[in-house]
């Protein structure tokens, strides 16, 4: 089922977290607060899984360097 058709988060599902790899220092703050485990951490970068991300924006709040923004899907 495509995310935009879910009943619970119809509005916010139109947003998607997007990370600026040049600013990101891979501290994983975002991943620790992500309620849907949509942030994958490797040794040198983080990856936001668009199929899981609900666009809730909690990761944006905790990023110490402002490397994450919400973009339109």
């Amino acid at each position: 089922m495509p995310p935009t058709t879910s009943t619970s988060g119809k509005k916010r599902d139109k947003k998607l977290a997007d990370v600026d790899g040049e600013l990101c220092g891979v501290c994983q703050a975002c991943a620790t607060v992500c309620p849907v485990n949509a942030i994958e951490v490797t040794e040198s970068y983080i990856k936001i899984l668009p199929e899981k991300c609900t666009g809730c924006g909690v990761c944006v709040k905790v990023c110490p360097v402002g490397a994450i923004v919400l973009i339109d899907r």
Binding site: C27, T32, P35, V41, T42, E43, C63, P64, V65
Partner: protein, 403 residues
């Protein structure tokens, strides 16, 4: 068959757990997602002497940068309060050297290592965890073990996969940013400086830790829910505008930038399941006020390793058996975490102006006595001010009876 334990994470908690398990005769493999242990540094790099002492793990000599005797706290209005012991009570270390050396020692003691292996899943048989699935060299690989120790940090995959930990709420973590700086002109080189205040660092603090030779670790932790500015913006603002920074760091140069996150809400309620346990940051074993965790990681790691090895030898790896680990570490630190959480709440509830008034009448020694529940003269001083908020704060501080 030799009893086999997998330790996920090669930081201080993981290396200490490995050493604890090796001492108790188990076969150990340490797995880490990174290929370079200790890098990047995500820490203030302060460690007390007590933890390593209890864990019977020596602080690697070559990692020590500066001995410290205590702290200097600046209240929001820049009133400073010092507390220092005669002899050094801890050190500022270089985490790169420290982590690497502990890891090296664990391998020298007999641990196998698998670096660059990211945990994807855990395996179970009859509801008991009996291994981990990792991605290594681009391949999925299953590693079997009697017990999996999750020492994999604040964003522990083992914690999530075992169901021991759900996502943190933003206010349960601190968002951290730090610079390692050279050419600093520190006023004290054997005290750790802390700066409090809702303007300087909301729900957290700024730290300046001496690293010897004019170098310092200068950083900030702010509440994860703070949305006004990022941690980096708060620290940059401090460095540019604050008197304490201007006096000491005016000519300082940045030689490294660091980011990090840490739980400040106290340890997880449960850290064991059938076939697995959590230790260190993964278990939330971090001081809720200072954010310090290395000492706890080393002590709790050693206990976890030993209990895991003993349980594996007896082939009794149920949560009930691993409970021995919880019992032992909570006996050492349970009260300390509870009291510190209460103190944290108290500090967070206190207005900047009241903290300034408190700083004006106390000394480092008297505040330590007060929070230990002792009778101190400053209490009378506070009463004589007639300031109700200050008096209530001091009454609450006395009730903490810190150990």
């Amino acid at each position: 068959m030799t009893n086999h334990i997998i330790v996920v994470g090669a930081g201080p908690a993981g290396s200490s757990a490995a050493m604890g398990a090796l001492r108790a005769g188990a076969k150990v493999t340490i797995v880490d997602r990174k290929t370079n242990v200790g890098i990047p540094v995500q820490c203030g790099e302060a460690i007390g002497k007590t933890g390593p002492g209890v864990a019977e793990i020596e602080i690697p000599e070559e990692s020590i940068r500066a001995p410290v005797r205590g702290f200097r706290i600046y209240s929001p209005g820049q009133v400073s309060v010092d507390y220092a012991t005669k002899e050094p009570s801890g050190f500022i270390i270089d985490r790169r050297v420290f982590d690497k050396e502990l890891f090296a020692r664990a391998t020298e003691a007999g641990a196998d290592s698998l670096l660059g292996a990211r945990v994807l899943d855990v395996t179970r048989s009859n509801g008991t965890i009996d291994g981990a699935v990792v991605r290594y060299n681009g391949q999925r690989q299953t590693l079997k073990a009697q017990i999996v120790i999750g020492a994999d940090g604040v964003n522990s995959q083992i914690a999530r996969l075992t169901g021991l930990r759900k996502a943190y709420k933003p206010d349960d973590i601190d968002s951290c940013f730090a610079y390692e700086m050279a050419n600093c002109n520190l006023e004290v080189t054997d005290l750790m400086e802390f700066l409090l205040g809702s303007e300087v660092s909301p729900r957290g603090y700024i730290w300046i830790f001496p690293k010897g030779n004019g170098r310092a670790n200068v950083g900030i932790g702010i509440g994860g829910g703070i949305e006004t500015k990022t941690a980096k913006e708060y620290l940059d603002h401090f460095l540019k505008n604050h008197d304490v920074a201007k006096r000491q760091l005016n000519d300082a140069k940045v030689i490294e930038t660091r980011v990090g996150a840490l739980p400040v809400c106290g340890p997880n309620k449960v850290n064991v399941v059938n076939g697995a346990l959590l230790v260190g940051d993964a278990a939330g074993q971090i001081h809720p006020i200072t954010g310090g965790g290395m000492g706890y990681a080393m002590v709790c790691g050693s206990i976890a390793g030993r209990v895991a090895a003993e349980s594996a030898q007896k082939e009794t790896v149920t949560a009930t058996n691993l409970q021995q680990y919880e019992k032992e570490w909570r006996k050492l630190y349970g009260a300390e975490f509870d009291q510190s959480l209460r103190l944290r709440e108290l500090i967070l509830q206190t207005e900047d102006a009241t903290l300034d008034k408190l700083a004006n009448i106390v000394t480092g020694e008297s505040i330590v006595q007060l929070t230990a529940g002792k009778k101190v003269k400053i209490f009378m001083k506070a009463m004589s001010t007639g300031d109700r908020k200050l008096i209530t704060l001091m009454q609450e501080l006395r009730k903490l009876r810190m150990v």
